[in-house]
């Protein structure tokens, strides 16, 4: 009778000890698989979250350089001389207070240069980009804006504001999650004369997707040319967008998103756009730094621009899951260590209780290796059974464990956010709510767990077996008699 036959009979006919070991092995395997699954889920979620949250580079006009250029232009025009240079107009105004000089800048002076934007966008690794116009006040022609009689109208233009976007999906209000589409769609790259309006404005004027709105310059609304834009979407906000100036013109509900080149037409300065910001979305967030270096290496007039990192959320989100990964790794290590100790004790107890059987087998001439292999085979048979149970239960257990860990992590993050509230001034922060992770059990995990458990059992059986097998058969038998 070989060791496998003996092992099988022992497992079947000594059910209590087998069930005890089965329970322990199932528990250890489950913990290990849950740990692996949570770790894997956290790593995957880190990657997907980083990609989903995304990262990019924002291009703005450098204010210091703007002042410097303004001074240079006025110096070129000359002191006490009317004229224009580089988009700056210097004009003398006679008033009751005496002679005053009015200096105005047209859009070409204020705007980001489209050629520079396109150079950056052409760099490999930039997935997409957006250009946003400055907030442009215009006059509504065929609809009424939202009015608030209690609002301060001191600087109100009596109009509404337009924000043009090359690709509205990459507008910062949309990226932050504050603006979402309710009906229709966002403005896209190929759109011409299109707009997306607020749900409040749509309700007030009974407007829907497909209707058209008319605008013209607010300075001379009676004579200014009227431009028409078709509504392609209706948006909603979680919080009102911060007004740039007092008055209903800049109320959040009166902000209308249009295609990139519409605001300049509506304000009466066609072909003289004012691009205020550009956003370049990085395709692979892991290559963020490389791409930024490439952008900086472009021969642009960098004194004119500010290149701003927009990857804060990516770091915050991924750091949350980095902690989860550490916890999961710790869980695996502790389970293995504790498993080894527990199994060693079980097998030590097991072999001690079976010293009679071991003595008989030794007296019959069975080699110690054969007896040890019987113990190991018994453990393997139970392990196989345990795996069948574990593999059936593991997906549910892993998902539960991962959700628990994520919930704990999210709770910590929320607490931290509450602590950090009011510390930072800025725009509406991006959504950072994680509702769960997909903690799946892969074949690789099963294989790793299986190999790990076999090694664990082998080591435990070895440790426990040597204590009894070091004895002479006569000693064992005489101890029994």
């Amino acid at each position: 009778m070989n060791s496998i036959q003996r092992a099988w009979r022992s497992v079947i006919r000594k059910p209590i000890k087998s069930l005890l070991l089965l329970l322990v092995v199932v528990t250890i395997s489950l913990f290990i698989l849950c740990g692996m699954s949570s770790k894997n889920a956290s790593v995957q979620t880190q990657d997907t979250t980083r990609q989903a949250v995304g990262a990019g580079l924002r291009l703005d006009i450098n204010e210091t350089n703007r002042s410097k250029r303004l001074t240079e232009c006025t110096n070129k025009i000359g002191n006490g001389v009317e004229g224009s240079y580089g988009g700056i107009q210097q004009k003398k105004i006679e008033s009751a207070y005496g002679t005053q000089w009015l200096i105005t800048a047209d859009n070409s002076f204020e705007s980001l240069q489209i050629a520079d934007i396109e150079k950056i966008a052409a760099i490999s690794g930039i997935a997409d980009y957006n250009v946003s116009t400055r907030v442009t006040p215009v006059n509504p022609v065929n609809f009424d804006r939202i009015e608030d009689p209690d609002n301060d109208q001191h600087n109100d233009f009596g109009g509404i504001t337009l924000i043009g976007n090359r690709k509205m999906a990459l507008d910062f209000n949309v990226l932050s999650g504050n603006v979402t589409i309710k009906n229709g769609r966002l403005v896209d790259v190929t759109d011409v004369d299109t707009c997306v309006i607020s749900e409040q404005l749509a309700a007030k004027n009974a407007l829907a997707v497909g209707d058209t709105l008319q605008f013209n310059a607010y300075q001379n609304p009676q004579i200014a040319a009227v431009y028409t834009a078709t509504i392609v979407g209706v948006y909603q906000t979680k919080q009102g967008m911060s007004p740039l100036m007092a008055g209903d013109t800049f109320r959040s509900e009166n902000v209308i998103f249009t295609d990139l080149r519409f605001p300049e037409k509506a304000e009466g300065s066609e072909n003289d756009p004012c691009f205020q910001t550009a956003y370049f979305q990085v395709a692979n967030v892991d290559k963020y730094d490389d791409i930024k270096t490439k952008v900086e290496a472009l021969g642009l007039d960098w004194e004119r621009y500010d290149l701003i990192d927009r990857n804060g959320n990516m770091s915050t989100m991924s750091s949350n899951f980095s902690d989860l990964e550490k916890i999961s790794t710790l869980l695996i290590i502790i389970t293995f260590a504790a498993g080894f100790v527990i199994l060693s004790f079980i097998f030590a107890f097991w072999t001690k209780n079976r010293s009679h059987e071991i003595g008989i087998l030794l007296s019959l001439g069975y080699r110690k290796l054969s007896i040890l292999s019987q113990l190991f085979t018994e453990a393997l048979i139970i392990l196989l059974l345990a795996f069948a149970i574990t593999f059936a239960v593991a997906p549910i257990a892993a998902q539960t464990a991962a959700h628990y860990l994520v919930a704990e992590q999210a709770e910590q993050t929320k607490t931290q956010q509450d602590i950090d509230a009011d510390k930072v001034l800025g725009n509406q922060p991006a959504e950072q709510t994680v509702i769960g992770v997909n903690a799946e059990i892969t074949d690789k995990m099963l294989l790793t767990c299986g190999v790990g458990m076999v090694a664990l059992l082998g080591a435990s059986v070895g440790v426990a077996g040597t204590t009894i097998l070091r004895k002479k058969p006569r000693t064992i038998l005489s101890e029994l008699s």
């Binding site: 007296s363 001439g365 058969p473 006569r474």
Partner: protein
């Protein structure tokens, strides 16, 4: 001599001054029954353990067919040269009588169990359900399952009532002269 003790001495390592066996020299021939008699503590079981290869003499050697049993290894000696029958039967409790006999060697367990008088309906039961006499018969059948030429029995009737003990002794005599 099939089995021989040569200057075999034995003492416990913790009590080196107290000899259990003192330079024993004796040879055992094939086809004979030997009985070792003596009071308790005189070293009968120890001597049998040395002959069975369950332990090694502190001095001297045990030879099988003229060769020291350590040459081929004690496990080999126990497996192929000698068979053991103990006072306490020493059957494995989770195996049936049939399987216990199979443990002993490759000879047909059916024939052996029949020859020691174990009824067929008992072959598949748990050994714990057998009487003492039946368990000892199974133990003898197991000892006969190997091709060993020497059967060593350590007080095989010690746990049995008188009638059963005589049955077992008769069985051993029968085996010695016929098997």
């Amino acid at each position: 001599m099939i089995l021989e003790a040569k200057e075999a001495s034995y003492f416990y390592k913790s009590q080196k001054d107290k000899l259990i066996l003192d330079h024993i020299n004796y040879g055992f021939a094939c086809g004979k029954i030997y009985a070792i008699l003596g009071p308790s503590g005189s070293g009968k079981t120890t001597f049998l353990s040395l002959l069975a290869g369950l332990d090694m003499p502190a001095e001297g050697e045990i030879c099988y067919n003229g060769k020291a049993i350590t040459t081929s290894g004690l496990a080999e000696h126990r497996r192929h040269h000698v068979s053991l029958v103990f006072q306490s039967y020493n059957l494995i409790d989770y195996l049936t009588p049939l399987e216990n006999v199979k443990l002993g060697g490759k000879k047909s367990p059916d024939v052996l169990l029949n020859s020691v008088g174990i009824a067929k309906e008992l072959w598949g039961r748990s050994v714990l359900q057998l009487s003492g006499g039946q368990q000892q018969r199974v133990a003898i059948a197991r000892a006969l399952a190997s091709n060993a030429t020497v059967l060593l029995a350590d007080e095989p009737t010690g746990n049995l009532d008188e009638a059963t003990a005589w049955d077992v002794i008769d069985l051993l005599k029968h085996i010695a002269h016929n098997v």
